[in-house]
């Protein structure tokens, strides 16, 4: 599917199986993102994702706006316990690409928190421990991820 080609670079942390497990509503959302990218509608939330890519974004404000919107999107899915994968995927985009260090950190912390909600224990640990790799210089984040991962093991 073409939306996968557009968005795959942002979802590299997800397996094909997990991408396939997205609901119709999620796929619709991703479709709308992709459509807005195609028509170049930077004002709409989905269209901003195009500017999020460091190779094509033209100004930092757009990227910052995008990261804030993506975090809001993630917030909307946080209340649904079955949507942890999507929350993590959105937070991963922010942690990797946001120009704002505070938002990056907030996203990485969410990845640790929501990693614990994935039912697959292997995937949970992988997600939890992925956060410090996204922000490698942050020692507190390493500590937080390690503590959460250990808690998951006990």
């Amino acid at each position: 599917m073409w939306w996968r080609i557009v968005l795959n670079p942002y979802f590299t942390g997800l397996t094909t199986l997990e991408i396939n497990s997205l609901t119709g509503e999620q796929r619709d959302l991703l479709n709308r993102i992709a459509i807005n990218i195609r028509i170049g509608n930077a004002l709409m939330l989905p269209g901003l994702i195009a500017k999020f890519d460091p190779t094509i974004r033209r100004n930092r404000m757009s990227a910052l706006a995008m990261s804030k919107i993506l975090m809001t999107m993630a917030d909307e899915f946080k209340t649904d316990p079955t949507q942890a994968h999507l929350v993590i995927a959105l937070c991963r985009i922010v942690a990797l690409h946001s120009p704002n260090a505070g938002l990056q950190l907030e996203a990485a912390i969410d990845i640790i928190a929501f990693g614990s909600r994935i039912k697959n224990a292997e995937k949970s640990l992988e997600n939890i421990l992925s956060a410090p790799r996204l922000i490698p210089e942050n020692m507190d984040l390493k500590r937080m991820a390690a503590i959460e991962a250990l808690r998951w093991l006990i």
Partner: protein
């Protein structure tokens, strides 16, 4: 908490212990991971594997209490003939 085999748990805890050491030093986390390993080791059925894991734990223990515990457990573990 996680539905993992003892072997998998040990492997993950070992990764965390190594990660804590490689991260430039998070000694308390390194020690916590070692304690988790020591807690899980008795659940491993293979004596040779238990021995190897205990040796790893001993080499990664930071606090003296954890070092002592690892050494005692290793001493009690029969070595492979």
């Amino acid at each position: 908490m996680a539905n993992l085999t003892p072997e998998k748990k040990v492997q993950h805890a070992a990764v965390i212990a190594s990660y804590a050491r490689a991260a430039g030093g998070i000694p308390d986390i390194q020690d916590k991971a070692t304690v988790v390993i020591l807690d899980i080791v008795p659940q491993l059925s293979n004596p040779s594997r238990r021995h190897d894991v205990l040796a790893f734990a001993q080499s990664h223990a930071v606090n003296s209490a954890t070092q002592t515990r690892a050494a005692k457990m290793l001493a009690l573990e029969p070595t492979a003939s």
